[in-house]
């Protein structure tokens, strides 16, 4: 991968914008919703914004690998931040940027549907992220904890266990839709920014 000076500076800027969002809004949201209390909202909001920024970046550096580089820079900025090292967000940022790159590679040329696919793929990771990270960090015993919690919740609320499965499917679909929306917005926003700079 070879980039010109201008492309590298743009990659740096988009990485810094995503990083700034993670360091300010991300830290703020993690304090409001501690990780154990919230498994849905914070990751979704941060991934949504990150995907928009990275995909706008692709408008300005339309070359394979640019989004992944933006992700690497964001991850390193997150790693060296005052808040300390958190393995979870680092893995999420890198995985999301890789999946965006995959979606954009499928589309070949910059196209709206490519951006939508890239966004949907990236935020879909968000669904599996918690399970994968929990497996790595805690081992397979964590699944017993989750299953136990679901069983207790089902018996407490006196609902059918199949509803729990339906809720999980809905949560996955919400992420896909949010990702597609982020891709759609990223495509539009890239054009708006270009227009603003051309003035």
């Amino acid at each position: 991968m070879r980039f010109s000076v201008r492309e590298l500076v743009y990659i740096a800027i988009f990485g810094a914008i995503w990083g700034a969002l993670e360091l300010t809004l991300g830290s703020y949201l993690h304090v409001i919703f501690p990780p154990l209390a919230d498994t849905f909202l914070v990751g979704l909001i941060m991934a949504f914004l990150g995907v928009i920024v990275a995909l706008v970046g692709r408008h300005f550096v339309p070359r394979t690998g640019s989004v992944f580089l933006i992700g690497i820079i964001t991850a390193i900025l997150k790693m060296i931040s005052i808040g300390g090292v958190q393995v979870g967000p680092l893995v999420a940022i890198l995985a999301e940027s890789l999946l965006m790159e995959l979606g954009l590679w499928v589309a070949r040329k910059p196209r709206r549907w490519g951006f939508v696919l890239a966004g949907a793929l990236a935020i879909a990771w968000n669904f599996f992220h918690k399970f994968i990270m929990m497996y790595i960090l805690y081992g397979k015993g964590i699944y017993d904890v989750y299953v136990g919690m679901v069983k207790q919740g089902v018996s407490l609320l006196r609902i059918d266990a199949s509803y729990a499965l339906a809720i999980i499917v809905i949560l996955f679909l919400i992420r896909i839709l949010a990702g597609a929306l982020a891709g759609w917005i990223g495509w539009d926003l890239g054009r708006v920014v270009r227009g603003r700079l051309a003035r």
């Binding site: 000076v5 590298l8 990659i11 800027i13 810094a16 700034a20 090292v85």
Partner: protein
């Protein structure tokens, strides 16, 4: 010049035991062994991580005093005897499971080992070394991009806050929040890219070449090789036993 070339007269370079590759290997190795270790075996992984951190990155041990870590640890320890296994004994009126208690303890030990290994890597390897590490993986120009990113980050954060407050004071987030968020992003991105042009001109004026290597490449040390052999052997033993 002949005098200056005599290495004995030059100031001694600080001795490096482990290179950035060594610390990366330590992190990856700890994750692998923590996953492979079964039940009580994970205690040895944590002990080894603490010893390594104590010897080579004392600052990383402060991680164990952070409240965020305990926010993970304590609920897991408290919930697992209630949710895992058969609840066979009673404590303060609560039916608990012994199996659940041990499972929770091993989970927490594994999580602490991985978090500590990540802290060792992040606190010991500098940004410049990380950039060199990536450049060694054929990601040319990443070091330069990373330098630019760390420099512009405070300005971008400030722009973001100023623009957010300006929009909020004008009632921007009361209605059409998504539209206002879009405007905020456009303002921040466009402003940052304009600033980026100045950086491009400055770099080009100094004939900067992104293909030129960023300092000396990271060299693998003997200690790295020894650590690789140790980690590999440990993972193999855990896999076989």
């Amino acid at each position: 010049m002949a005098v200056l070339r005599d290495s004995r007269l030059l100031p001694a370079a600080p001795r490096v035991l482990f290179s950035a590759y060594g610390y990366l290997l330590f992190f990856v190795g700890t994750v692998a062994t923590a996953i492979l270790a079964r039940e009580a075996e994970v205690v040895f992984v944590l002990l080894a991580t603490i010893v390594f951190a104590g010897l080579f990155s004392g600052k990383a041990l402060t991680l164990l005093f952070r409240w965020q870590i305990w926010l993970f640890v304590l609920p897991t320890l408290a919930l697992s005897p209630l949710l895992i296994g058969d609840r066979a004994f009673s404590l303060w009126g609560l039916m608990l499971s012994q199996e659940g208690f041990w499972a929770g303890l091993w989970m927490v030990t594994r999580a602490l080992s991985i978090a500590l290994a990540a802290a060792v890597f992040a606190l010991t390897v500098s940004v410049a070394q990380m950039a060199q590490l990536f450049e060694g993986m054929r990601l040319k120009g990443l070091g330069f991009a990373l330098g630019v990113a760390t420099n512009v980050l405070p300005t971008i954060q400030e722009t973001m806050e100023t623009s957010y407050h300006a929009m909020r004071l004008r009632g921007g987030f009361r209605s059409r929040r998504l539209h206002t968020l879009k405007l905020l992003l456009v303002t921040v991105i466009a402003g940052s890219l304009r600033r980026g042009d100045d950086i491009v001109w400055a770099a080009e004026a100094r004939a900067f070449d992104p293909d030129r290597p960023l300092g000396q490449p990271v060299a693998v040390t003997r200690a790295d090789a020894a650590l690789a052999a140790y980690m590999g052997a440990l993972a193999l033993v855990l896999l076989i036993v």
